[in-house]
């Protein structure tokens, strides 16, 4: 029987909202539209849907299924599937935690924008000067100093305003996860549903802007040339799998942790489908807002949409959108309100992803070392806040960028390890049987095929491709390191990834406090035949 004393979600909706909240983050609003536009517009939807069906949903089912079957957070679940794989669960949780260290800073900048825009509601003046959104981002939000440029390796002066807002973010993270799924299950009703409300309002406002249709055409008009040769197809497919993988929060261990708190009879397969479609639907929908605004901005600045999109998805949110806001022909107070709605939705979408990432580690530590979860949560939040100082300075933006780039590769490695563990060690058939036993919707051999063959092959290919792109500059004089940054900062990014992996190994070797830590829980399936099979699985594992 699953552990009866384990916390449970109050209802299915709370779980789904938490999972959707975790999956849907800042990247859904600014990354997907940018990737879609760059990889063929509407034509990109074809590889994207294929990636969603063959990697996104199957991997999410794997994480839900494993977490539920093993009744534990990622380290526990993977350790129970096979002891030697426990490290991968810790690695996933540590990677997620490391990402939160800088993710919280980005959210802190968003809070800064919110606070400034809130003041604009009363002062009747936007925070940034006309046409100065980029300058404002760099000098007011990032460096906090009008005289200081964002510079690689420059660690002073400290941006105290960012430190302050970072404190608020970590405070909220602690508040959300202090009581585990009980508190998360309540918070997500606000942090997930309110942004959707705001996004709907923004959508109707955005599509009515002059030039929105031109922006939407750029977003979705298919560029079939991106799919007409084999190399082009490979490029678009890689972009699609990468997007699906990053956007679904796979490889952080959070989905396993969340699923471990589900009751015995839980529709694992349908939950995964709902989460995946909600996540993809949100990013597809987010593209309508983003590109409507970009179309409007292009028209107003006398440029083409492609020219205002630029090369950075980050810039779309922090530069293009504010620039567009100042051009909307309404009163300044209303401009500020639109900005507040936009940054407010980013803030809420961001925080529920952030606290879910910390929760993955908290749940793992709590499972293995039996430390009170409030204490773990508090310690991790204080630690995260302190590490945040690394990013609250002129060099923080570049450091953040490099770390993000390399930690993202870690996600793919963990995804690959998960596929190997379930596909080749634990056995896809066993997990499939568990999922089918507890779910309304049955999954077929195709899911096994995706986990055993298709997804690992794609992930290996993506890893090789990324490795080649990242380090080509070592032997190719014409190439540069990531974003043209110096070698040393790329090495720091890589070291962060190695450090997360090392933390995984150390925690896996640490002595556990619970004697039944590796004991696979048995399930009292209604179907006797399935029960027998499941018990056998437990013994084998």
């Amino acid at each position: 029987m699953p552990n009866e004393s384990r916390d449970r979600w109050s209802n299915r909706a709370a779980f789904i909202l938490a999972a959707v909240g975790s999956a849907v983050g800042l990247g859904n609003i600014w990354r997907f539209p940018h990737v879609a536009y760059s990889a063929g517009g509407g034509a990109f939807l074809i590889p994207y849907f294929i990636a969603l069906l063959t990697a996104g949903i199957p991997l999410l089912m794997l994480e839900y299924g494993l977490g539920h079957r093993m009744q534990g957070a990622a380290p526990t679940a993977m350790g129970r599937a096979h002891k030697r794989f426990e490290f991968a669960g810790w690695w996933a949780a540590a990677g997620g935690l490391f990402i939160t260290f800088y993710y919280a800073i980005i959210i802190a900048w968003v809070v800064f924008y919110c606070s400034e825009l809130a003041q604009s509601l009363f002062t009747g003046k936007l925070p940034w000067e006309e046409g100065q959104a980029a300058h404002y981002l760099m000098h007011n939000a990032v460096t906090g100093n009008a005289e200081t440029e964002a510079t690689v390796g420059k660690m002073s002066p400290i941006n105290w305003s960012a430190v302050g807002f970072n404190s608020l973010v970590w405070g909220f993270i602690y508040y959300a996860i202090r009581n585990g799924v009980q508190s998360v299950g309540k918070v997500v009703w606000v942090t997930v549903l309110v942004p959707y409300l705001l996004l709907f309002l923004l959508f109707f406002q955005a599509i009515n802007l002059e030039g929105a249709s031109a922006g939407l055409s750029y977003y979705l008009a298919p560029d079939w040339s991106k799919l007409d040769t084999l190399p082009e197809i490979a490029k678009a497919t890689a972009a699609a799998y990468g997007q699906v993988f990053f956007s679904l929060s796979i490889g952080f261990g959070i989905m396993m942790a969340y699923a471990s708190f589900l009751p015995k009879k839980s529709d694992i397969s349908n939950n995964a489908i709902i989460t995946s479609f909600a996540n993809s639907g949100t990013e597809f929908f987010g593209g309508f807002i983003t590109f409507s605004v970009l179309g409007f901005l292009a028209l107003n600045s006398g440029q083409f949409v492609g020219d205002v999109v630029g090369t950075s998805s980050f810039g779309v949110a922090f530069i293009s959108y504010p620039t567009a806001i100042e051009n909307i022909p309404v009163a300044v107070e209303l401009q500020a309100a639109i900005g507040l709605a936009f940054f407010g939705s980013l803030l809420l979408l961001g925080v529920d992803s952030a606290f879910s990432l910390v929760e993955a580690m908290v749940a793992g530590v709590h499972d293995k070392f039996s430390v009170a979860r409030k204490r773990v949560a508090a310690l991790l939040c204080v630690f995260g806040w302190i590490v945040g100082f690394l990013f609250c300075n002129p060099g923080g933006l570049h450091l953040l960028d490099a770390m993000d780039h390399y930690l993202s590769h870690g996600l793919m490695m963990i995804g690959l390890i998960q596929c190997i563990l379930i596909g080749w060690v634990f056995g896809t058939f066993k997990l499939r049987k568990h999922i089918n036993a507890v779910s309304e919707r049955r999954i077929t051999w195709f899911w096994e095929f995706c986990i055993k063959w298709l997804t690992p092959i794609v992930l290996i290919w993506l890893l090789i491709q990324n490795f080649y792109e990242d380090w080509r500059a070592l032997w190719d004089d014409d190439a540069t390191f990531y974003e043209g940054m110096p070698l040393w900062i790329n090495l720091i990014g890589l070291l962060t990834l190695v450090f997360a992996c090392t933390v995984g190994f150390i925690l896996a070797r640490a002595k556990m406090q619970k004697s039944d830590y590796f004991t696979v829980p048995t399930f009292d399936y209604e179907d006797k035949a399935t029960e027998a099979s499941a018990t056998k699985e437990g013994g084998e594992a």
Binding site: G42, F49, E210, A214, L216, S217, A221, I274, Q303
Partner: protein
């Protein structure tokens, strides 16, 4: 203002040439300037300002334009006079022409130096030069715009005030077909075209200006293309690359001077009320790339980008002309959108994506709700 050393040297050279000419019995080296020319080549006093120098250059330029020395030389060569007299006359004409051209170049160089070194002079100069031209052209453009918008009937336009004279009808003759009387709109557009060309012609010599000088006279740089505007006379199918380039150049011209796009729109409207984008020859075709997202470096995109940059340079923070230009481009020349509705393919894919994602989500939620209801019923019955 400071005249260059070169100017002074040239003056000495002129004096020396006159002296040598006077002493020589073999060659009529003296240019034998007319009184008007003597006045034109006379030194511009150091105390005079940039505008006076410009006026002097402009007067020389106008004189050279109206006095076609090449034609005069040709006339002499074809005359019945003896060869010696012909050679003498030709040499004098050539000398006169060269002296005038040289003096014009000196003035422009001196002017350039002054404009580069003094912002006040530069500002004053632009105001002075652009003022009358701008007023006239703006009035003409307003009239043209009024006609297109239907606010003014063609007959209501005060043609004298804007100095426009429509060409009368030409009856059919042995050699040519009948030509109908020129419409008022056409006449205004033609006159504007001619005025731009003339304005530029005055500045042909400004090719001597270096890059810095060009920057200092930005407002004139935007008029810096002296090519003809072949399509002002009506739509002509584009048949080769050269014509396409000419068309683009024309568009650039129009768009620069009239960024609200009325003239560019008029080109399209003139002969083809319903632009047929399927036709290879249509004027809109070369610009279709504007709407294709991956054509970042196409000639058309670069052209449009160049126009936008020029508009920024001319109008600064006043975004309306740039915005109007962009809007006109999108509406008139791009298949991406007409600014009221996205392109058809984009709509199809928006619907497709929405059906797959939101349909899939709705169906999954529906199944979840159904299963929840079933569970509740079972629980209740137990």
């Amino acid at each position: 203002m400071t005249l260059t050393l070169r100017t002074i040297c040239m003056s000495f050279a002129l004096a020396a040439a006159l002296l040598v000419g006077a002493c020589s019995s073999e060659e009529p080296a003296s240019p034998q300037f007319t009184d008007a020319e003597k006045e034109l080549v006379a030194e511009v006093n150091d105390e005079k300002n940039a505008l006076d120098v410009f006026d002097a250059a402009a007067r020389i330029h106008e004189y050279l334009r109206t006095t076609d020395f090449d034609a005069l030389i040709k006339e002499v060569a074809e005359s019945d006079e003896d060869e010696e007299a012909k050679a003498g006359k030709t040499a004098r004409l050539t000398l006169r022409k060269e002296w005038l051209e040289r003096r014009r170049a000196e003035h422009i160089e001196a002017l350039t130096n002054e404009l580069v070194s003094s912002n006040d002079a530069s500002r004053e100069f632009r105001k002075r030069i652009a003022g009358p031209f701008d007023t006239l052209m703006t009035n003409r453009n307003d009239a043209l715009r009024g006609i297109f918008e239907g606010r003014i009937a063609e007959s209501e336009v005060d043609l004298k005030a804007i100095k426009v004279e429509p060409k009368p009808a030409v009856p059919a003759s042995k050699d040519s077909e009948a030509v109908p009387a020129e419409t008022i709109a056409h006449a205004i557009a033609r006159t504007m075209n001619e005025a731009i060309r003339e304005f530029y012609a005055l500045w042909e010599a400004s090719t001597l200006l270096d890059e810095k000088a060009e920057q200092s006279v930005t407002q004139f740089v935007v008029f810096s293309t002296g090519k003809d505007l072949p399509y002002i006379q009506g739509f002509k199918p584009i048949t080769d690359e050269r014509e396409k380039a000419d068309m683009l150049e024309s568009l650039r011209w129009f768009a620069l001077r009239f960024p609200d796009g009325y003239v560019a729109g008029w080109i399209t409207e003139l002969d083809d009320k319903e632009p047929d984008l399927k036709s290879e020859a249509h004027i809109g075709n070369p610009l279709r790339n504007l709407g294709v997202s991956d054509s970042h470096d196409s000639a058309e995109r670069n052209l449009a980008r160049g126009i936008v940059e020029d508009l920024f340079a001319v109008f600064g923070k006043e975004m309306q002309p740039t915005k109007d230009f962009r809007k006109n481009l999108v509406k008139g020349f791009s298949e991406e959108s007409d600014l009221t509705f996205p392109n058809a393919w984009a709509l199809v894919l928006a619907i497709f994506g929405s059906v797959v994602l939101f349909g899939g989500l709705a169906w999954s939620i529906f199944l979840a709700v159904q299963s929840g209801r079933k569970e509740r019923l079972v629980a209740r019955s137990e």
